[in-house]
């Protein structure tokens, strides 16, 4: 299969030429030639000529934080449906969290996930294994076995590793296998019975609050352990300005820490809980405007490396209930790109920075080689940056609908997603 992408604007900081045609063959980017003066006849013998005039061509978007729910909660999402949602959202690869049922704390589950992903043959799936067996925070999982089966990271996501000694040893042991440790940094004692950000809104609504320091205390601990072990640490779903300050300081000191945030943290605040809207309930919770501004700033200056969705599918069974009892989390794969393009429109990020935060940095975090140069894997996202549209959860490929952005008018989306040299999503072909 030979594909040529013609006339698009190449968004990859490592490629000097912005106006270039891309030749893809056997899943690899073979050639990159200036578009100027080229014509269709310059590419004889290609199977598919994609006209990308007026489009942006980015290295394929990668999401470091996704819950695919399979095995165990297939009514919320399957690996196939989650991957389908990913490619519709322009996401070519996802790192899936281990809090499935059974937990991905052993090679068997990792292999199962990869087998299902291969069958789906849409987005690439990179499993994260559990730090502790059963996510119980007691004994370490077999990192070597997980790695050998295909895991790229370890994390107890959804739960913090409260035992600092276990976290220290996990960081050290993971380094031996080249695995990155992803931290869900949260002090459960400070969170207590909290269900939303602690502040004016929680006081007004009479809901138990979660203070910012519930996150930043643990971010600070995890950074200290990272400094001690010099192992790679990735802080998941950063939501507070205090965490950002700690991460910025750590980076200044050369500590090998990276961090991600999610679109909801730079788009929404605790005010959006409104009148007990469970679609605004997640962990960490939506914070205040000051935190939101700090996150946007941290994305601009690179303190936060990556935008990840924390895509967390839940059905109405978990969400259409009392706020206290509602499950944490929202889906994000199909809204992440339009919301992140909003940062470009607002002047927070350049389009090249967006490519860095959504593709190149996530690739480095997961240890993947990506970009649009010759020889790189042909994982590509083609974007119409201006297309106005209305977010309609009924059209989502995800099996779940827990989305606070339903009905929002946004601009920009993926028009084509290419994974391993195959067109896995073509918006034109999907037109209703």
């Amino acid at each position: 299969m030979r594909i040529v992408i013609r006339g698009g604007r190449i968004i990859d900081p490592s490629q000097p030429e912005e106006a270039a045609d891309l030749l893809i063959e056997d899943g690899i980017i073979r050639d990159l030639r200036p578009s100027a003066g080229s014509s269709e006849t310059d590419w004889p013998g290609v199977d598919r000529l994609v006209d990308a005039t007026g489009r942006l061509v980015l290295p394929g978007l990668i999401d470091t934080h996704v819950h695919l729910r399979e095995p165990g909660q297939e009514y919320k999402e399957t690996i196939a449906s989650g991957c389908q949602a990913a490619v519709w959202g322009g996401v070519t690869a996802v790192c899936c969290m281990p809090n499935t049922d059974p937990v991905n704390d052993n090679a068997g589950v990792t292999e199962f996930i990869l087998k299902k992903a291969a069958e789906a043959a849409t987005a690439r799936v990179y499993p994260a294994g559990a730090i502790s067996r059963g996510l119980q925070g007691q004994e370490m999982s077999e990192f070597g076995e997980l790695k050998a089966a295909g895991a790229v990271a370890v994390t107890d996501d959804g739960m913090p590793v409260m035992d600092a000694q276990l976290m220290r040893r996990a960081l050290e042991y993971a380094r031996g296998f080249g695995l990155i440790v992803m931290a869900h940094s949260e002090d459960l004692a400070l969170t207590g019975s909290g269900v939303m950000n602690e502040g004016l809104v929680s006081t007004r609504l009479g809901l138990s609050g979660i203070p910012n320091c519930s996150e930043s205390v643990m971010v600070t601990r995890d950074i200290a352990l990272c400094a001690l072990t010099r192992s790679k640490l990735h802080i998941a779903h950063v939501s507070t300005r205090e965490s950002i300050r700690a991460i910025r300081q750590a980076k200044d000191q050369g500590i090998p820490v990276t961090a991600e945030t999610a679109p909801h943290y730079f788009t929404l605040t605790d005010e959006d809980v409104g009148e007990y809207d469970t679609h605004a309930k997640m962990n960490p919770p939506l914070r205040t405007r000051e935190d939101k501004e700090a996150i946007r700033q941290a994305l601009a200056d690179g303190t936060i490396d990556a935008i990840a969705t924390d895509h967390a599918p839940h059905s109405s069974i978990e969400k259409d209930v009392e706020f206290d009892r509602a499950a944490n989390g929202i889906i994000g794969l199909e809204t992440s790109l339009p919301l992140s393009l909003g940062l470009v429109r607002d002047g927070v990020l350049t389009i090249h920075q967006l490519a860095e935060r959504m593709s190149l940095a996530p690739a480095r975090i997961l240890g993947l080689d990506r970009g649009l140069g010759p020889g790189k894997p042909a994982d590509i996202t083609i974007i119409d940056p201006d297309a106005p549209h209305r977010i309609d959860s009924r059209t989502f490929q995800s099996l779940s609908r827990n989305c606070p952005f339903d009905g929002w008018n946004v601009q920009g989306w993926a028009v084509m997603t290419i994974v391993d040299g195959n067109i896995v999503f073509d918006r034109k072909a999907e037109a209703p």
Binding site: G192, E198, G199, L200, S202, T203, R204, L205, G206, L207, S208, G209, E275, Y276, I317, D320, V321, E322, F323, D324, R325
Partner: protein
């Protein structure tokens, strides 16, 4: 003027006019309870469901008596007898209730926001009988009625609320209600019991109970819940009583016509000494009496006459 609300979910969504209308109506209702035959036919043929997901004696009885004195048919469901124990969701339970065409559903629930969720689901009027730490509007209304009855006004008065403000729906509703009616409110408690941003609801904050007592026209004591010991809010009942409890000695600094209130149930000897609870300034039992009147007024206003188009 007509009462504009389908539901009574919190004090914040009532206007000062709404509150005055409830209190004025309650004065008339109170008279019914003093008659030898304590029943009027006003709500004959109306069905009132008392839906209590959380233990309650006083509030449930008060609503039940209120409904019966207005000749409504009332029935009561508690968490232990509802389908909740069989795993039914609240929304499903609500839809089932709805199918039986009740006129008013009175709900108490340990989760904040549930009355609003119910009001979105059913056509019947919903009255909040207390939801989590959020709101207890009928308590605030009966408190306002009781104070107005004694003082002749609410405007310009100073109310001190003393106790665990952070976990109290009574405090929240009273702060919003009394300030809305022109009173000023000060809350006093150890800092562990003061929630972030309570001043944004209109309350001043002090940690000195003496200061709160000295300037107050009305002192409202809140119940200290023993389970809060486990969340490190205070070290012991003994210490709490000494530094934050209301006793005769502390009352010496109060104005001569101060009113002492407590939403009940009381922990005698902890937040309030028996001498104060039973003393001449106490209007604690008046609160209970007026509770029936206020609830009769609300039932009448939401279920009597025509249903208004406005749905909150």
């Amino acid at each position: 003027m007509q009462f504009s609300k389908k539901d009574v979910l919190d004090i914040a969504s009532l206007s000062a006019e709404d509150i005055n209308m409830v209190l004025d109506t309650a004065v008339g209702m109170k008279e019914i309870s003093e008659r030898p035959i304590k029943k009027v036919p006003t709500l004959r043929g109306k069905t009132v469901i008392l839906f209590f997901y959380e233990p309650s004696t006083r509030t449930r009885m008060s609503f039940d008596i209120a409904a019966k004195r207005l000749s409504a048919d009332s029935l009561s469901i508690s968490a232990s007898t509802s389908s909740l124990v069989k795993g039914e969701t609240l929304i499903d339970t609500a839809k089932n209730l709805e199918s039986m065409h009740p006129d008013v559903i009175i709900i108490r629930h340990s989760s904040a926001g549930v009355p609003r969720m119910l009001a979105r689901t059913v056509r019947a009027s919903v009255i909040n009988a207390g939801d989590g730490m959020h709101a207890h509007p009928t308590q605030a209304l009966l408190d306002m009625m009781t104070v107005r009855e004694r003082k002749g006004r609410l405007s310009g008065l100073r109310l001190a609320i003393i106790g665990d403000i952070a976990h109290s729906r009574v405090a929240r509703s009273n702060i919003v209600g009394f300030t809305k009616m022109g009173a000023s409110v000060v809350v006093a408690a150890p800092p562990t019991m003061i929630p972030l941003g309570i001043d944004a609801l209109g309350a001043e904050v002090t940690h000195d109970i003496g200061e709160a007592v000295a300037g107050a026209d009305v002192i409202m004591m809140l119940r200290i819940q023993k389970e809060r010991l486990r969340s490190f809010l205070y070290p012991s009942d003994r210490e709490y009583a000494r530094f934050y409890g209301l006793n005769i000695k502390r009352l010496e600094k109060a104005t001569k016509d101060v009113l002492i209130m407590h939403p009940g149930p009381m922990n005698r000897g902890v937040e309030i000494s028996p001498e104060v609870a039973d003393g001449p300034f106490s209007i604690i039992l008046d609160q209970v009496t007026n509770g029936v009147a206020v609830r009769m007024a609300l039932l009448y206003l939401v279920a009597g006459g025509q249903r208004h188009a406005d749905s909150d």
